[in-house]
Symmetry: C2
Subunit: 280 residues, 2 copies
């Protein structure tokens, strides 16, 4: 892999300046330009993606239409090329700066958001799934999204309520039953679909959006979006003719590994290997 | 009604300068600021809207959820206050400038796009419905959208392929059967729902969008969006907590009135009164 100014092999980096760290703490997210990572990240990903999408496996989730691929999970476990990306010095360094600890990847996936077909994701926070489903007891995780396509206002960008991560857990009780179109799937599929299992009340979303506003970070392919596991977010369906694929790596602090779950979710949703990652 | 610089009572106005007319001809749309119309348009509309939305009638179309109001048609026929808005000198003058003829309102509606619930509208052109359904033989119509709320990137704005109006009719064959959720409704309901009866092939949409780009005109409440009946457009669902209501008036040239339709659509979809409107 090409090395850039972002870091020589094995180096321990602190790539985020104090302004970016402050922005992350205040807003719950920070968007980094494509030159943050080596230039061949997109090529490496593009090379493995056809095989990833074609493989019929429980880790592959389809849209409601039953044919379009929505997400494929566990890529850092199943694909050495993707595992290598999770260990890029710039990424590991940035996440370590934000969490103040060694880290590993708890979950990874690619979300495709296919042209014309990629469905919306309702308002939710991520962390409640990892707390309730996986026994991760502190929100000491960082989401890293790698844009595989340009993200615009038209192709279903992530939409955040900035600062909402500071509110803690917002969801009410979980919703019983399986979402429409997935009735025959295993129970954990309910945690992966467009109908959120842990729903936040509309009035809570409205109050926060009126106070804090809404924002959809946009940028060219290769941009990196770091966001807090408790930031309230959604994304619209992709009505455009242009794909909006992104890789998502969920880094967890090694001191925050899952505890006390009798029946853990599958490995591709909750990695049981919680060893600190070393930079490439 | 308060009069503004937009026109004194009864006056024949030519409110669009040559640049705006050229922009409309080239792009298929033009966005005008809130001061284009008298300031009390929003108050007048807000005063009648609760009654409009509450009235159970065939002219009221619900979202798929069966409870949220999606649209109410025929407002220029059923509500004197809305009829008066269609005769505002600035509006009539602008539409006459674009069509070069006296005009009347063929169709009117309010689209609500309720918070969290307003559904998407697939890619389509409007004119094919008026040609096939109503026997309007030339695309000599102008859509006028009056924003009743601020339109942002988050609340399901209209999205255009600029310049696509110049391509003429793009739709393939019509789609048989009634759209999902409306199976028991009269046949003409198929022309009003989120599943378009006259569909444009995805490859055609993609080619045009790659060449011409996409645009979502945004602005404060009171903004006026004029757009061509053949412009290719869609709109995303409203995932935001904020409503995106707009009035839509479809003006037709009096020389282009419906011809040769054995069973016309209901009056609230295709006004049989095709007499030239006079400014207020």
């Amino acid at each position: 892999m090409t090395q850039t100014a972002a870091g020589a092999s094995g180096e321990l980096l602190q790539p985020l300046g104090p302004e970016l760290i402050e922005q992350y703490r205040r807003d719950g997210y920070v968007l980094l330009p494509p030159d943050f990572l080596p230039r061949d990240v997109l090529d490496v990903t593009a090379a493995v993606m056809p095989e990833v999408l074609a493989e019929d496996s429980p880790a592959r989730i389809l849209e409601r239409d039953g044919s379009t691929v929505r997400s494929v999970y566990g890529l850092h476990r199943s694909r050495p090329e993707i595992s290598a990306l999770t260990r890029l010095p710039a990424l590991l360094g940035a996440v370590r700066q934000l969490l103040g600890d060694d880290v590993y990847v708890h979950q990874s996936k690619v979300n495709i958001k296919a042209p014309f077909a990629g469905d919306q994701w309702e308002w939710h926070q991520d962390y409640v799934y990892w707390l309730q489903g996986d026994g991760i007891h502190r929100p000491d995780l960082v989401n890293v999204a790698v844009f595989l396509d340009e993200v615009t206002e038209f192709n279903g960008p992530l939409t955040f309520v900035p600062g909402s991560h500071a509110e803690g857990l917002l969801a009410g009780a979980d919703v019983d039953g399986m979402p429409l179109g997935y009735e025959d799937a295993p129970a954990w599929v309910a945690t992966l679909t467009a109908d959120e299992k842990f729903q936040v009340r509309p009035s809570v979303i409205e109050d926060l959006a009126r106070t804090n506003g809404l924002v959809s970070p946009k940028g060219p392919a290769g941009s990196i979006l770091l966001f807090h596991p408790n930031i309230l977010h959604s994304s619209a369906a992709n009505i455009s003719p242009f794909r909006r694929a992104m890789l998502l790596f969920v880094y967890n602090s090694v001191s925050n590994s899952p505890q006390g779950i009798a029946e853990p979710r599958p490995d591709f949703l909750a990695d049981p290997e919680t060893v600190a990652l070393q930079p490439l």
